[in-house]
């Protein structure tokens, strides 16, 4: 039985002016420890899908189950990372990392210690008493990663977590996130509109087509790229041909008339 299972997910956004179909009849499953990317043009419903998987949003139709249990509301089994860090400016870095544990009523000395060790492993122990506005964008996003991992979620949901960063920081952070998730044997779903990032980081790529969002194609990333660090994968000889293939597919999606 698969780790995460999506069954016929559809979602309609209702507003005063219209009913908008954002997702239509999406089904797929993910194995434990797998890293899957959701790739697609902006507005195709990636964030909507991630919100539904996390339990933040109830789908109009369909079900999500994690380890055979239906997801109906968010909780400690999921870790959600947003496009920007959204660290609380009034809390210290340390307290920002503790927020999940605090909300779940699990802020024990052991958990604190684990969180601090995690902070240390990301090279952030010097700034634990600092405030977010004293940190660079890359450091802040690393803190956000620690905050997400602190509650030890089973599944990580990453919604374009690198897109607000400069290129160099983004490449470094891709490696760090990849290593950290592999080290903790986490299952993860990454939303991105960056083809290179999807190939470099994931085991499998689910390509979504827009209006309404549905699965256009699923790519298996060559196994030799799966184990490489994202930065190395980008330099691998088979990387360009995979990039070309997905690029053409994405291009045809964006040009198809609707």
């Amino acid at each position: 039985m698969s780790f995460l299972q999506l069954n016929a997910i559809s979602h309609v956004y209702l507003t005063e002016s219209a009913a908008k179909e954002a997702l239509s009849d999406l089904s797929f499953s993910i194995a434990e420890g797998e890293f899957v990317s959701l790739l697609g043009p902006s507005g195709c419903g990636k964030s909507t899908l991630l919100s539904i998987i996390s339990g933040l949003l109830q789908p109009t139709e369909g079900t999500v189950s994690l380890q055979n249990k239906m997801i109906q509301s968010p909780g400690e089994r999921m870790g959600y990372m947003l496009q920007q860090d959204y660290l609380f400016p009034w809390k210290t870095i340390e307290d920002n990392c503790y927020i999940g544990l605090k909300l779940l009523n699990k802020l024990t000395p052991e958990k604190k210690e684990i969180t601090l060790a995690l902070l240390d492993s990301m090279g952030l122990s010097d700034v634990r008493h600092a405030y977010p506005d004293q940190l660079s964008g890359g450091m802040r996003q690393r803190v956000a990663l620690v905050r997400t991992l602190a509650t030890d979620p089973d599944l990580l949901l990453l919604d374009e977590p690198f897109s607000a960063l400069d290129y160099q920081t983004k490449l470094k952070l891709e490696d760090l996130v990849f290593q950290t998730l592999k080290a903790h044997q986490k299952t993860a779903i990454l939303v991105t509109h960056d083809i290179g990032e999807a190939i470099a980081m994931s085991d499998r790529i689910i390509l979504l087509s827009p209006r309404p969002g549905k699965i256009a194609k699923i790519f298996q990333v060559p196994s030799q790229l799966q184990t490489l660090l994202p930065f190395e994968a980008r330099n691998d000889p088979v990387f360009p041909e995979n990039f070309q293939m997905i690029w053409k597919e994405l291009d045809s999606l964006e040009q198809s008339p609707t």
Binding site: E76, Y80, L82, W90
Partner: protein
């Protein structure tokens, strides 16, 4: 550029800042002294009617007289207590109402037109009704001090609650946080700057409410001193009361600024 040169430049810059500050303070003191001396002179030489406008030394001597007979202390402390009470009640209740409106979207929609009407209404006009309802005493005056700030506090703070970055809320919700936790961890701390700026406005507003209340009740307090001085044509007394009000409202304002530095570090 080497370190020595940088150091020197920095020292020069600091010196320049200090000189500028010194200059400004000098000007401020000069203006105050010039104003007071001119006033004194004009009063004594009867360029202005001293009966109407008094002059500084006359006010100072009245200050001492009133201080020794104890009446100044009494009137000032009565007004100060009423103002602080009105200010606190107005701010706390206003914030509490804002929290209720944030909690229930329906409540906020239903109360919207009433809040608009109440807000545009001049609250001091309710004074006579409040006095009839609550009796001519502290209670009415404090109520006036509070009522003048409560609606605007509710509106401004509700607006601040409502415009908190939704992604902060999403962070809390993604950890399974409930509405109470969202309020405590995000909505309230994110709105501290807005709350502080309403506090600053409320300091002034509650003084207005209390002074008008004392005009109407006419028993005790600095507002009473003003009305009494006006009736017996003792404008030295009126000016002394104004001076006391200026001093204590400034102190309250400084208190709010101190609170601001405590609460908002980042």
């Amino acid at each position: 550029m080497n370190n020595l040169q940088l150091d020197k430049q920095h020292q020069q810059y600091v010196k320049k800042l200090k000189r500028e500050k010194y200059e400004i303070v000098t000007w401020q003191i000069f203006i105050l002294l010039a104003f007071l001396s001119l006033w004194e002179l004009a009063g004594r030489l009867t360029w202005i009617d001293p009966l109407l406008f008094s002059y500084p030394t006359k006010i100072a001597s009245l200050f001492l007289t009133k201080l020794y007979d104890g009446s100044l202390l009494l009137h000032t402390s009565v007004t100060l207590l009423e103002t602080v009470a009105g200010f606190m009640i107005g701010t706390v209740l206003g914030t509490a109402f804002a929290a209720v409106l944030w909690w229930s979207r329906k409540a906020s929609k239903i109360s919207d037109p009433y809040l608009v009407v109440l807000n545009s209404m001049p609250k001091v006009a309710l004074g006579p009704i409040i006095i009839v309802a609550l009796g001519p005493g502290y209670l009415s005056i404090i109520t006036m001090g509070a009522s003048i700030s409560i609606i605007i506090t509710t509106l401004v703070i509700y607006h601040a609650f409502h415009t908190v970055e939704p992604n902060y809320i999403k962070v809390i919700r993604s950890f399974g946080g409930n509405k109470k936790q969202i309020f405590r961890e995000v909505i309230l701390p994110a709105s501290f700057p807005a709350i502080i700026s309403t506090l600053k406005v409320n300091v002034g507003l509650s003084w207005v409410g209390v002074i008008v209340g004392e005009f109407l009740v006419s028993k005790q307090g600095l507002g009473y001193m003003i009305i009494y001085g006006f009736q017996v044509f003792n404008f030295t007394l009126v000016l002394l009361s104004l001076f006391m009000i200026a001093i204590f409202s400034s102190i309250m304002y400084l208190g709010v600024e101190w609170l601001e530095r405590k609460l908002i570090k980042h």
